[in-house]
């Protein structure tokens, strides 16, 4: 995976998000204080916000180019997104949430077959439950599974474990590693928890006031 963010400019309240970087590691962590522009960065990668300048390219496909007035809508980007509040659809049960973005033809050995994803995420017993009755950890796994089932080329995770206690976080980290190892989906993982980054990420980018101020291996950056 290679995500190119070329001279991106997005005005936000109080500062402008300005990014010029290429992300090409399987799990890239975005680290920074609240209000640094992390969620806005994910939003523009997903196509939910439009920068005023710059270009976004995922592998060989240009997703946005301000100079060419090119904007690929979110539904055509195949970029999964798990937001901080997970946004599980409260009027649908777990199964209906999971299949909402299911768009690949199912074959016998399909990596993204519903049964396989459900098994890997260990949510088979939850399928007929209403999402509002799930525990925090169960909701996380359902949100991950829903995003995986849309077979994304890149998955954006915006502090998905921020509301969980550290014991539950420790239990969920292997599930995130499975997304990389079993489904080969590259991740961009936003958090302000250094321990999560150290446990998960191959590379860490530090964002402050809309600018990348540092990047490197977790061990180098998180000292």
């Amino acid at each position: 995976m290679s995500l190119r963010l070329h001279n991106i400019r997005l005005p936000l309240a109080g500062f402008t998000l300005e990014i010029d970087a290429t992300l090409d590691r399987p799990i890239a962590g975005i680290f920074g204080p609240s209000g640094a522009g992390k969620t806005s960065l994910l939003d523009l990668i997903a196509g939910l916000r439009r920068p005023v300048a710059g270009a976004v390219q995922l592998d060989d496909r240009v997703l946005f180019d301000a100079a060419l007035s090119l904007h690929v809508p979110p539904r055509l980007r195949r970029i999964g997104y798990v937001p901080q509040d997970l946004a599980l659809f409260p009027h649908l049960n777990v199964r209906a949430n999971l299949v909402y973005g299911y768009r690949l033809p199912v074959t016998e050995n399909d990596l993204f077959a519903l049964e396989h994803v459900v098994e890997v995420m260990e949510i088979a017993q939850l399928l007929d439950r209403n999402v509002t009755t799930l525990s925090g950890g169960e909701q996380q796994r359902v949100a991950f599974a829903r995003a995986i089932l849309s077979a994304p080329r890149l998955l954006l995770l915006d502090e998905p474990m921020s509301s969980l206690d550290s014991r539950l976080k420790t239990r969920l980290i292997p599930f995130l590693q499975r997304i990389r190892d079993e489904f080969f989906i590259p991740l961009i993982y936003v958090t302000h928890d250094a321990r999560e980054l150290a446990a998960l990420c191959d590379e860490v980018l530090v964002l402050e006031n809309g600018r990348l101020v540092e990047r490197g291996l977790p061990a180098e950056v998180l000292v």
Partner: protein, 223 residues
């Protein structure tokens, strides 16, 4: 109650239900457009929609009379193009009820759409949903309680409509006479006793309608 009184009751219920069904698609569309989109002239349209709430109902009736009369710009088109006569027919009662109850439907549905987190819609888009699918499977179901409440309010308002109906439809027995018009006419003629059964029936119908609306809204509440 006399047979004539029952005819008036059923006629009023019919035109109120018909006018509510008639404004429902347009009301939902306008409410969604106001709640979710920015477009030129939005403030003007929003104000126009709300006008019947604040303009005296007889004035609204007069405007409708001028527009839909035989020589009015819309009335002449409907008369000559489609053979439809509006004023002083049951259609004028439906028209007056629709115009007077439209703002209540739009206002309530608009608040319902605004109450739906746009994050649900965003995530649906990243899962591959088109704008129509987002509307049909996320926005509309999640706003359904408010839309039902708005439809109930619109129906109840139509049941009690008087001023605009009197001007544009008149008080023609067995043709345009509604409960409100009949109560007024009976009082004018000093037949207060004849007005009482209609009064109680109208209160009963509106009470049952609002109660049903409350029950439906509670059932649609995400658990």
């Amino acid at each position: 109650m006399t047979a004539e009184a029952w005819q008036i009751v059923f006629f009023t219920i019919e035109v109120s239900a018909f006018s509510t069904l008639l404004i429902l698609p347009l009301g939902i569309a306008v409410a969604w457009l106001i709640a979710r989109r920015d477009w030129p002239g939005k403030a003007v349209v929003e104000t126009l929609v709300m006008l019947p709430l604040f303009v005296p109902p007889v004035a609204t009736g007069l405007v409708l009379l001028m527009l839909f009369g035989r020589h009015g710009p819309l009335g002449s088109v409907l008369q000559h193009g489609f053979g439809l006569e509006i004023v002083f027919t049951w259609r004028a009662v439906v028209l007056a009820c629709a115009v007077m109850s439209f703002p209540l439907l739009v206002r309530t549905a608009q608040a319902a759409f605004q109450g739906v987190s746009s994050r649900f819609e965003d995530i649906a888009r990243t899962l591959g949903a088109s704008e129509w699918r987002v509307f049909g499977t996320i926005s509309l179901p999640l706003a359904m309680r408010g839309i039902v409440a708005g439809a109930v309010l619109a129906f109840a308002r139509a049941m009690g409509e008087f001023g605009a109906t009197a001007v544009v439809a008149g008080m023609i027995p067995r043709k345009t006479m509604t409960i409100s018009l009949s109560i007024y006419q009976n009082i004018q003629l000093g037949h207060d006793a004849a007005a009482l059964p209609l009064l109680f029936v109208s209160i009963g119908v509106v009470f049952v309608t609002v109660l049903c609306g409350q029950i439906i809204s509670m059932r649609n509440r995400p658990r």
